[in-house]
């Protein structure tokens, strides 16, 4: 495989969920959680995936991991389309893709010690079959994430939020993955701890050549950590480009509104700042608006936006946006 080939390529990913019509009746419907999403991530790169709740960013991550089987589309990882693989064929691939969750408390087994939590994938995947060597590897991993060897004997509830997230990271690292999907990895943490974890993720990326898909809603954090950024709204990517273009010259009105909604920690600046406050709320993915899904909230929408689905097109080199007015 050539060095320039992307590590991961998501092609026309669609994920629909069927709802209703169950025990309590109700009208059956289809939630278009992810609706024709395509992007790729190069080796060693960090792609930020931003959007509000329900935009499909987490489902996209779960489809990549094959925790959800896509309705349509391809997930090409290291040259192989994962959607065509069976469970047995997927198992070795799963080693290469790990995930770090938002809430480290609910994603760590409360009845296992930190040492057991980190050692488990090493045993399951048969990476380090010898228990003594496994313990040594656990100590090494604890060191990589800034914890001490004695933390191996603690239980999750004895750790702070930041320490628990470090354990989650150590567990993900244990199997030496190529890709880590970070799903809101710092949003449940205190401000002073967030920066620690972000620095740690960056150090580990440099040390182990990791590739990140960084799913988050915090635009300031995403700018800090990402090389490229994709903005999602109601199941679709509305804008995707490199970090600098997105933050210096956003093209899509939704991206502009998101950026303007972030309050800046400086009262003098905030007092002068003009804000675009979007009206309305994100519509239901069960019944998305016609045409451009953003048009009911868009401050610059014209009649055409109601009928025409905008294509995600290249407006400047390497900068794509789905807006007919961009």
């Amino acid at each position: 495989m050539s060095h320039d080939a992307p590590l991961l390529e998501v092609r026309n990913l669609v994920k629909h969920f069927h709802v209703g019509g169950g025990l309590f009746g109700g009208r059956a419907g289809v939630v278009r959680a992810v609706d024709d999403v395509s992007f790729s991530i190069r080796r060693g790169e960090t792609l930020g995936l931003v959007g509000e709740s329900g935009c499909g960013k987490t489902t996209t991550g779960r489809c990549i991991l094959q925790l959800e089987r896509p309705t349509r589309g391809q997930i090409v990882f290291e040259g192989r389309d994962l959607t065509t693989l069976g469970e047995d064929e997927l198992r070795p691939v799963r080693r290469k893709m790990q995930v770090i969750f938002q809430d480290p408390y609910s994603s760590l087994n409360p009845r296992m010690t930190v040492g057991q939590i980190i050692a488990e994938p090493l045993a399951v995947h048969g990476i380090v079959p010898d228990p003594a060597q496994r313990a040594a590897r656990v100590r090494e991993l604890l060191g990589h994430v800034g914890l001490l060897p004695q933390h191996a004997r603690r239980y999750p509830h004895q750790l702070s939020g930041g320490q628990r997230q470090r354990v989650g990271i150590a567990r993900a690292l244990a199997v030496e993955p190529a890709l880590i999907i970070c799903d809101e990895p710092v949003s449940a943490l205190d401000v002073s701890i967030q920066a620690q974890i972000i620095n740690l993720l960056e150090d580990l990326q440099a040390q182990f050549g990791l590739t990140y898909l960084f799913v988050a809603h915090d635009l300031s954090v995403v700018r800090h950590i990402s090389d490229r950024v994709a903005v999602m709204y109601l199941g679709k990517i509305v804008e995707i480009t490199d970090r600098k273009s997105l933050y210096d010259a956003p093209l899509h009105p939704y991206t502009k509104a998101l950026l303007s909604a972030v309050p800046i920690p400086d009262p003098a600046l905030e007092a002068q700042r003009e804000r675009v406050v979007l009206g309305g709320e994100v519509p239901s993915a069960l019944n998305p608006p016609s045409g451009c899904v953003f048009h009911p909230r868009c401050p610059i929408a014209v009649d055409r936006c109601r009928g025409e689905v905008p294509e995600l097109r290249e407006i400047r080199p390497g900068h794509r946006a789905a807006c007919i007015l961009a």
Partner: protein, 336 residues
């Protein structure tokens, strides 16, 4: 501007398995009429407990207010009878919580939840209360209010539920609203809507607000004055402008430096506060922030600093090195 609420030396303790925790430790602050004041800090710093203590909602036997006074319009709320306190709660002082779904009653209609307080506190008829409820919903930007009154919380989105909470808080024309992380559970664009709504209403109705938050951006935009809390104590206070432009406590400085900012060039590396917040059952005699502090001196480990004035305009800081902090900052700034 007169003083509306004056909290003096408030101390609230909780009995935990690990020992007694002083969640709020000798805390004093105040809110002027119509003013918006922020309590800022990270989880466990005592900001929510301070608000609950004012409302006397700290649950015994685990939690107890062990000292201090809470003067509201000159009366000490901690000395009132339960009955008199009920007249204050919801009527004179209202509260907005972080997660509206858990603070609304899922089996009562929106209309009933709004009218209940109106009937109890204002003694008006159900018909009048229903009319007022409709007006309140319209005021917080919920259209089609007549139909909405018959709906239930699960039929509302997160943003609408928080609008509903604001309507409930405003129902009896309170003079103070305590808002505990009012927008933390909301999406960025909805957060902006709700904050603008709160700011607009507080100005228009001249309601004072205490905003409890960990978000420094929210504070910068909406607060007149800021109290920064760490490990149960206030470590710095000042006007928002003064505090952000000239932080004089290493914790405030650390918080401001640790967040990436959209208005500044991207930094190669973030500047976190190292270490963890302290275990409140094992606080020593010194400054609680000392173990994480880049500016600590020998005295910090043994003697706890008190809040002392820095410059003018009510800016206070609890740090032995507060006077030297600006020079230290300039030095470290030059070094990076």
């Amino acid at each position: 501007m007169g003083v509306l609420l004056e909290v003096e030396n408030l101390t609230t303790e909780f009995v935990t398995r690990g020992g007694v925790v002083r969640a709020a430790d000798d805390v004093s602050w105040d809110v002027g009429e119509g003013e918006t004041v922020a309590l800022v800090g990270e989880s466990g710093c005592g900001k929510s407990v301070s608000a609950l203590s004012i409302m006397r909602l700290v649950a015994p036997p685990a939690g107890r207010i062990v000292g201090g006074r809470v003067l509201f319009k000159g009366r000490d709320l901690l000395a009132l009878s339960d009955e008199a306190m009920r007249q204050i709660r919801g009527r004179e002082i209202a509260m907005i919580f972080q997660e509206p779904m858990t603070s609304l009653n899922p089996v009562l209609s929106i209309g009933r939840q709004l009218t209940e307080g109106l009937e109890i506190h204002l003694g008006i008829t159900p018909r009048e209360a229903r009319q007022r409820a409709g007006e309140l919903l319209a005021m917080v930007g919920i259209p089609d209010s007549e139909r909405r009154l018959g709906q239930y919380p699960h039929q509302f989105s997160g943003g609408m539920r928080q609008r509903m909470m604001i309507a409930m808080a405003l129902a009896c024309n309170p003079s103070l609203i305590l808002a505990d992380e009012p927008t933390t559970a909301l999406d960025v664009t909805i957060q902006a809507q709700i904050l603008e709504l709160m700011k607009d209403l507080s100005r228009r109705l001249a309601v004072a607000m205490l905003i409890i938050t960990h978000n420094l951006g929210v504070v910068a935009r909406y607060a007149d004055r800021v109290n920064v809390m760490y490990a149960g104590r206030i470590v710095e206070r000042g006007t928002a402008r003064e505090l952000y432009a000239n932080p004089r406590h290493p914790y405030t400085l650390g918080l401001l430096r640790s967040v990436p900012r959209l208005d500044e060039p991207r930094r190669a590396r973030l500047d976190p506060i190292e270490g963890q917040p302290p275990d409140l059952t094992r606080l020593g005699a010194g400054c609680a922030f000392a173990p994480r502090c880049a500016f600590q001196v020998a005295r910090c480990a043994v003697e706890r600093p008190r809040l002392v004035p820095i410059g003018g305009g009510g800016h206070v800081s609890a740090c032995w090195e507060a006077a030297n902090l600006d020079r230290a900052v300039a030095r470290s700034g030059a070094a990076t």
